[in-house]
């Protein structure tokens, strides 16, 4: 186990280095000149030159890359160009708002999709099954934007069940007052694709021989489904959750934009619109590192879910 972990962590290094190189050269050679962005419209050539000097843009490329890597390792990204807020502080203050919304979304959508998908899978081929499949096909094809626009209009603006948008400094008020509508919308929207996917996982398992054997032994359908099929289907489901997990950090950016939730996703979008390179670069690199760590944790989790899995 320890050897496995060390080897996996060791393998992450070249990939992370690649991410750093990609982000560095992408912004270095394809982005606009940072000095011009920072200088604004009325900057004189001397001012631009002095900004270039300050940022070290006149140094050779490899030296700039070295500074970039030092920044990553020491977690010191300096300040946002737009707001002069330190990037580390930006991360720390925006993350709680994002987690308040995304963690309940992830838990709810997985917890709801599993029973629904199992129910649909057991009545495969029936009218209910086909109706659900047609509904999910159509539901998936409508843009997420439409759902959010309509839900905000109907439940918040028209019926007044929820506030249209808002956020406070109290986590509890946020969770009970401002987060429910965004969470509800996001869960409802992600249900259709999740049910489709999980249904195919369950159908895959139901077709196996061990299910027939279990039924032949005279087990009740409930035991067969809940004890045998569900446990075996948990492996592809877990893989799918691991795909969704990195999204917990920025995945709900649309929801954040719509409901004015001061989270990471909205901050990232603001940074893109302002050309705030340090923020975008920091987000890309740290989230890539986090994603890789999460993937590693999920691989280790397989071992606990399925004892047959051998980590090598």
């Amino acid at each position: 186990m320890a050897a496995y972990l060390i080897r996996r962590l060791w393998q992450m290094i070249p990939t992370l280095l690649g991410v750093v190189l990609l982000v560095f050269f992408l912004f270095k050679y394809f982005g606009s000149d940072p000095a011009i962005i920072l200088g604004g419209l009325n900057a004189s050539p001397e001012q631009i030159e002095s900004i270039r000097e300050q940022l070290g843009l006149n140094k050779p490329v490899w030296e700039q890359l070295w500074i970039f890597i030092q920044q990553i390792v020491t977690f010191d990204w300096g300040k946002s160009w737009a707001t002069n807020e330190s990037v580390a502080n930006l991360f720390a203050t925006r993350l709680p708002a994002t987690l308040t919304v995304t963690v309940p979304i992830l838990i709810l959508e997985v917890a709801l999709a599993i029973p629904f998908a199992l129910a649909v899978a057991t009545v495969r081929g029936s009218l209910t099954d086909r109706t659900v499949m047609v509904c999910t096909t159509v539901a998936v094809s409508i843009s997420l934007l439409v759902y959010v626009i309509l839900a905000q209009y109907l439940f918040a603006f028209r019926l007044g069940w929820f506030p249209v948008q808002g956020w406070t400094s109290s986590h509890w008020t946020n969770l009970t007052t401002y987060a429910p509508l965004p969470i509800l919308v996001a869960v409802a929207v992600s249900m259709a694709p999740q049910i489709r996917l999980y249904r195919s996982f369950f159908l895959d398992e139901i077709g196996h021989d061990y299910v027939r054997t279990a039924r032949a032994k005279g087990m009740t359908e409930g035991t067969v489904l809940l004890k045998h099929v569900l446990r075996n289907a948990m492996i592809p489901i877990l893989t799918n959750v691991s795909v969704l997990l990195p999204g917990v950090l920025v995945g709900s950016f649309l929801i954040e934009v719509f409901f004015s939730i001061p989270g990471l996703g909205r901050e990232l979008l603001l940074a893109v619109n302002r050309g705030d390179y340090p923020v975008i670069q920091a987000f890309a690199i740290y989230l890539a590192a986090l994603t890789m760590t999460v993937n590693l944790l999920v691989d280790v989790l397989y071992k606990f879910v399925d004892p047959r899995v051998v980590l090598k």
Binding site: P14, F27, I142, R196, L269, A288
Partner: protein, 351 residues
């Protein structure tokens, strides 16, 4: 010599009778009623896109042909708003000409004003699918928006498939150092969450159709690469490829003349799958202002406008875009399913 020509003649005869893999796939596709119907709908949309692209329809989508927020024809015109009347003042007019400094020039200005004609434009009270806040025809906008969104989706999917297929072919065929290098590139691109990658590219690219295509293609090729690579690894060691090698076929010829036709159905299905997801991404990017330029219209920019209109009760633009997009995307998704079933009958009924 005669034996060779004989056998090639046999092959040709066999081809004309069975018609090859594509004809067989076409026959299977034709028997799938849902597939044919959805293909018809997609075809209609593509014709509309073509007509819009050649400016035959919806070329004047920017003209303000109706009154602001003109309702759809079915609903009838908006009720006249009660503007109230201001009572005309009574009593004699006070003559101000002795203290009004502009008074001497009024006659001259009236003379000059006669040189210009004011044209009365009657704006339509209602439009087929309603109008937006400037009175532009929603029908024309939705057609023009369809052109932009579908062209972006198709172009991005084609570019992404080309990138993915080329890299996948190189990686799968050569393996070794080349394969390791490309695997590393793949790992790097998939390590960054896709939405972040899209934003990072959007931050450095200008706005416009070409930029959206580039962003989506450069971030969306990874899945195709992986599948094509696996196919090439599988086919590389097959007998027909070894035989081609034995008679001296070059590496390029083996890759693109022998293996590629045998895996092209995988690429085609992936292309089709990516069209749908890219159209959805384009809509979101344009909504956020990271997509097409301000003087262009796409389904995403229309949704952005529709959001504000909805609060005022003007729902028709939202309805038009939603319906249009839902029909196209559903039809395309069903067509993709049918295409996959037709090209790879082994997969039928798995989902």
């Amino acid at each position: 010599m005669s034996a060779v020509s004989n056998s090639s003649g046999l092959v040709r005869a066999a081809e004309s009778s069975s018609g090859g893999v594509w004809a067989a796939a076409w026959r299977r596709l034709k028997t799938d009623r849902v597939g044919v119907a959805s293909m018809g709908i997609v075809g209609v949309f593509l014709v509309i896109v073509l007509l819009a692209a050649t400016n035959l329809v919806a070329s004047s989508w920017q003209q303000e042909v109706g009154v602001p927020n003109a309702p759809p024809t079915l609903l009838g015109p908006q009720p006249q708003e009660d503007t109230g009347t201001i009572a005309a003042p009574k009593g004699p007019n006070v003559d101000l000409s002795d203290i009004d400094p502009l008074a001497p020039r009024y006659a001259e200005w009236a003379e000059r004003a006669k040189a210009f004609k004011t044209e009365e434009v009657t704006k339509a009270e209602t439009l087929p699918l309603g109008g937006d806040r400037l009175g532009r025809d929603v029908l024309a906008k939705v057609i023009k928006g369809a052109e932009v969104s579908i062209v972006v989706g198709l172009a991005a999917a084609v570019v992404a498939t080309l990138i993915g297929t080329l890299l996948g072919a190189l990686s799968g065929f050569f393996g070794g150092k080349v394969g390791d290098l490309l695997e590393w590139v793949y790992n790097v691109f998939t390590a960054i969450p896709s939405i972040l990658l899209i934003f990072a590219f959007a931050a450095i690219f200008p706005r416009g159709i070409g930029a959206v295509v580039a962003i989506l293609a450069l971030t969306g090729w990874t899945g195709i690469y992986r599948l094509i690579r696996a196919e090439f690894m599988k086919h590389r060691v097959r007998e027909y490829v070894r035989s081609a090698e034995a008679i001296g076929a070059s590496q390029a010829s083996r890759m693109f003349k022998h293996i590629l036709p045998n895996v092209s159905h995988v690429a085609l299905v992936q292309l089709s799958l990516h069209v749908v997801s890219f159209i959805k991404s384009e809509v979101i990017l344009s909504y956020l202002g990271l997509g097409v330029g301000v003087d262009q219209v796409s389904w995403g920019t229309m949704l952005a406008e529709a959001q504000n209109e909805l609060i005022l009760g003007y729902w028709w633009q939202l309805a038009a875009v939603t319906a249009c997009m839902a029909v196209f995307v559903t039809a395309f998704a069903l067509f993709t399913d049918a295409l996959r079933d037709a090209l790879d009958p082994k997969l039928r009924g798995l989902e």
